[in-house]
Symmetry: C2
Subunit: 137 residues, 2 copies
DNA sequence: TGGAATTACTTTAGTCCTGAACTAGTTCAG
DNA sequence: CTGAACTAGTTCAGGACTAAAGTAATTCCA
């Protein structure tokens, strides 16, 4: 059984991400969103604090500050002081923010799904499972 | 049969890439390389022209120009006029460039392999196959 | 209790990256 | 054989991004 070529696997993964990114970028831009802003929006429900968002998205905190500022100005998120810890800002999606996020994720799903659709449903499930195994921690 | 959550699959993929990146970045920096420079080095054998490199790595051409300039200054690549088409620059790895690339890819393989190792060899092969299916074209 | 250490987030300042315009060389139609 | 259209690669100005320093609130412990 042949040993797998790890750098090649890596490069393939990287490339796939790049392809989908290139496919979807213009449509996202039409929504008035940067890809990174969409990424943030999509994580706000689960991680409603800037520091957590920076952590989970691998962005530096200053970038999160900047993008949240834009998102807030665009009316996509609301920011309030956390009752439990007055240092923290609790971020929540506004209704329009949620709408835009849904639309954006839909576009992403279309672009990615186009490629994902080349796999059988069983393969898709298996892929998801493998990625979750690898990403854990 | 449950429909798969495409945005979540995407996010997981994105996250995995980010994790490995974060793991390996310091060691690559110790080699005196940027991640993107390593990416270029790894593609030079197969795509020895700047335009192709830009295409295959999804970098803008000016960035390729810049990184190649650095790599050349560091003695990792050599640049010469292509005999067949005098507009083109043919890029080749120098011996030290090849050594650095091998080392860098090894580091990447270690970091990625650490997570990949959580899968069985059969799963790894299957993952590679699925990614290749999706990335085709 | 109070000030040293820690945590959350922002500001600033400077680096890095890239879109747009450009130069060099090639191809090809007339 | 020439000039219009094309392709390869570079330059440069300006904007995007982030490292470092700063501010504000909290926690810890002597």
């Amino acid at each position: 059984m042949s040993k797998i070529d790890v750098p090649k696997l890596w490069a393939t993964k990287y490339r796939l991400l790049g392809q989908v990114f290139a496919d979807v970028h213009p449509a996202i831009a039409d929504l008035g969103l940067e890809m990174k802003e969409l990424l943030l929006l999509s994580e706000v429900d689960e991680h409603p604090y800037p520091a957590e968002l920076a952590d989970v998205t691998f962005m530096p905190k200053p970038s999160v500050t900047l993008y949240l500022k834009n998102l807030e100005a665009a009316g996509h998120v609301k920011r309030e002081i956390d009752k439990a810890d007055l240092r923290r800002h609790r971020i929540t999606l506004t209704p329009t923010g949620r709408k835009v996020m849904t639309k954006g994720l839909g576009l992403l799903a279309d672009a990615f799904g186009k490629r994902l659709g080349r796999l059988t449903p069983a393969q898709q499930a298996s892929l998801m499972h493998m990625l979750e195994t690898m990403v854990a921690d």
